[in-house]
Symmetry: C2
Subunit: 124 residues, 2 copies
DNA sequence: CCTATAGTTGAAAAATTGTTCAACTAAGCA
DNA sequence: TGCTTAGTTGAACAATTTTTCAACTATAGG
């Protein structure tokens, strides 16, 4: 099942270390895990969205206030919030015409902190 | 300096809560922080690159072995490794013609773990 | 009911990113 | 020196993503 011979030939080279390849393949998580992880990190992979999250890290905000603070249209903000909402990264409450957005949990803070830690480390 | 009136008018709406906007703006990190954070998370925002990192999380590997394991060309792998190298996420050692890549530090593991934690949490 | 404003939506346009291709460099070996 | 293979590189192409635009919904107030 972990044999090296029947891999998809979508590549342009040969296995050089069959034992390593088999060892790694046996431990490689399911494809949908990497897909979900990549999709999650995509939400943090845009400067405007990072700044939006940094805003919400400080205080809950409505769409207009976010738009002015970041210097983008409220449509752009709304699209970003929609994506963040789908992945349970932000939540909202309505107060009349105004909708206040805030962070859904402490994961955003943790993920951003990990990123900052890497950026600030000595050997970078 | 934190007054609400002289924001860039790149947006299409008015500030609704000037006190919140000022409060948030005073605490918003510098723009280059968000840029560097976004650029870092971009490296985790692609399924192939996540799988590549998952490989290296298990064992150091050479370009060919990674290419076969992931089912992509060695050129694609090389481009990904180049980007990861620039951000000090992977390092390498040469052994004859073969170059073995491995993770530069424990941040990858931490960042990926945070992502997994969010994906597996009850309210998502 | 009419108007005004906050926010959403889908599609098109603009910008960015990932992969491939072909030519290249570097190392090993005869 | 000449051949083979591992890996890199840049440019072109393909795919994806972000922003904008215009039309839309929902709520408030007169």
């Amino acid at each position: 099942m972990a044999k090296t011979e029947h891999y998809e030939p979508t590549t342009d080279c040969q296995v050089l270390h069959p034992d390593i390849v088999d060892y790694v393949r046996e431990r490689l998580p399911d494809t949908n895990v990497s897909l979900n992880l990549a999709n999650l990190f995509k939400l943090f992979a845009d400067q405007t969205r990072i700044r939006l999250l940094q805003c919400l890290l400080t205080h809950e905000m409505c769409v207009c206030d976010i738009a002015v603070t970041l210097g983008v249209t409220k449509s752009a903000v709304s699209h970003h919030l929609h994506a963040l909402k789908l992945s349970n990264i932000v939540r909202f409450r309505r107060e009349g015409q105004v909708i206040f957005y805030s962070l859904a949990d402490e994961h955003v803070e943790k993920i951003v902190s990990m990123g900052l830690e890497h950026l600030l480390e000595p050997f970078s």
